[in-house]
């Protein structure tokens, strides 16, 4: 199995989730994160003092899938999360050694 981890813009989460559901995926996990990258943060000024906010709010999507779906999933996310603007994010794929559904104890591809 693989875990596809995508860092995307927060307002794209719903679209990405819908697109993955359309592929037949049943679950994913999302986390609010702070992104540092080429896209720069901003400066806030309070009473004339400047405060650098160097990060941007992003969402990290983690979805575990069967190996053969990898390309399809990566492609789908790429297409859906794209806005053609800097800061659209990244997709990383890692290997998952095993998976298990807590409720039933099922493992492997039954678990995801």
């Amino acid at each position: 199995m693989k875990m596809v981890m995508a860092i995307i813009k927060p307002f794209k989460l719903d679209e990405v989730r819908d697109a993955l559901t359309d592929l037949g995926l049943q679950g994913l996990t999302a986390t609010e994160v702070k992104g540092f990258g080429r896209q720069k943060g901003h400066t806030e000024i309070y009473r004339g003092a400047e405060y650098e906010v160097s990060y941007l709010p992003k969402v990290k999507v983690e979805v575990v899938i069967e190996d053969h779906l990898t390309d399809q999933v990566v492609e789908t996310i790429t297409k859906t999360a794209n806005t053609d603007k800097i800061g659209d994010g990244k997709i990383f794929v890692t290997e998952v050694y095993s998976a298990l559904r807590i409720r039933t104890g099922e493992t492997g591809s039954d678990a995801i």
Binding site: I45, Y46, R47, G48, A49, E50, Y51
Partner: protein
Amino acid sequence: MFKTIFYTAATAMAVLTSSVPAFAQESSLGSGDTAWILTATALVLFMTLPGLALFYAGLVRAQNVVSVLMNCFAIACVMSIVWLIAGYSIAFGDGGSGNLVWGGLGKSFLSGVSFDTLSGSIPESLFFTFQMTFAIITPALIVGAFVERIQFSFVIIFSVFWVLLVYAPVVHWVWGGGFLADKGVIDFAGGIVVHVTAGVSALVLAIMLGSRKGFPNDLQPPHNPGMTMIGAAMLWVGWFGFNGGSALAADGSAGMAMTVTHISAAAGAIAWSSVELMLYRKASLIGAVTGMVAGLATITPASGSVGPVGGLILGLAGGVLCFTVTQMVKKKFNIDDSLDVFAVHGVGGALGTLLAAIFVTTSLGGVGLAEGQTVASQLGVQAYGVLAVVIWAALITWILVKVLSTFVRFRVSEDDEEQGLDLAMHGERGYHNL
């Protein structure tokens, strides 16, 4: 407050008081006046709790929010008792031969004040409590200077001495028949008494305590501007009691004080926001509400003397000047008066005190100068008052810090500062949202 008026503007006031017959006989209770001062007392307490506490708490890191609220709350509690024990007596007692400098201890624990004792047309118990709310907010204003790094116990101990040695005497000088009242200083609701004393002492404290770690370039932004705005809104509303209540009657003086107070608050906010718009192309909420406070501090000493146009001009002037000084303190002098107590309150209060001498004139819509005064002479008196109090407040604060810090820890450890004072000082955290 009202005493000042008697000393400085007796003629002008004659017009006003004519509609309050009770005033003449002094011995009969005015239930309308009492109703208003009961209300005003609630309003001024509301300014500190929770007004000022929120105003300040929104401006710090999330890890110091409890600490700031607790500073304000604890000061309110302790100063109330200090006011009962000695503060009120020092301020409003009869100091006998020493009356030019203090009021003595004859009124400690409200001795001699019973249910039916009057002060003007209101119960003296009420006058005591109304004044107590001023004795609460003034040291609480200073909190803005030392947030996020001071030892809690130092705050409390310092404040006790400060109220007894700085605040109460200055009240006596200006409102209690002391030497500044004698000179004819105009300070209707506390430009000198409240804002200059707090602002100057704040600056001294900030210098002696040193900057927060990360000042000036690496600080975290205000954690909750909305909280600051809520507090500011409460300050605005409460200030109606502060300035309007300082008329100590429900009459035309109170009405006009409320009007000019409101106008000046609005003008201060507009002025500050306009400067921001010009400099940064954006008007911030924190800027707007800070300008509002600047407008309010500026109008405070003049709120019994000037008309609506005076209020408008004082507010605009206060907004612009306080903004400017805020920048200077931070950027030029590199002083971490963290929440700008000196620049906003000290400077605003002093500015209003000086401008009162000009806008009090009838030709500018004011109540008129006291007999025998010219604008120039009154300006001299005002400057004298400000200067005397600046020196006294700075000197005593300096001595107090020097002495007290040999007994009590002054500044927290670096670890505690990093972790935040909420856990370190109070064992609490401000937000537990899971």
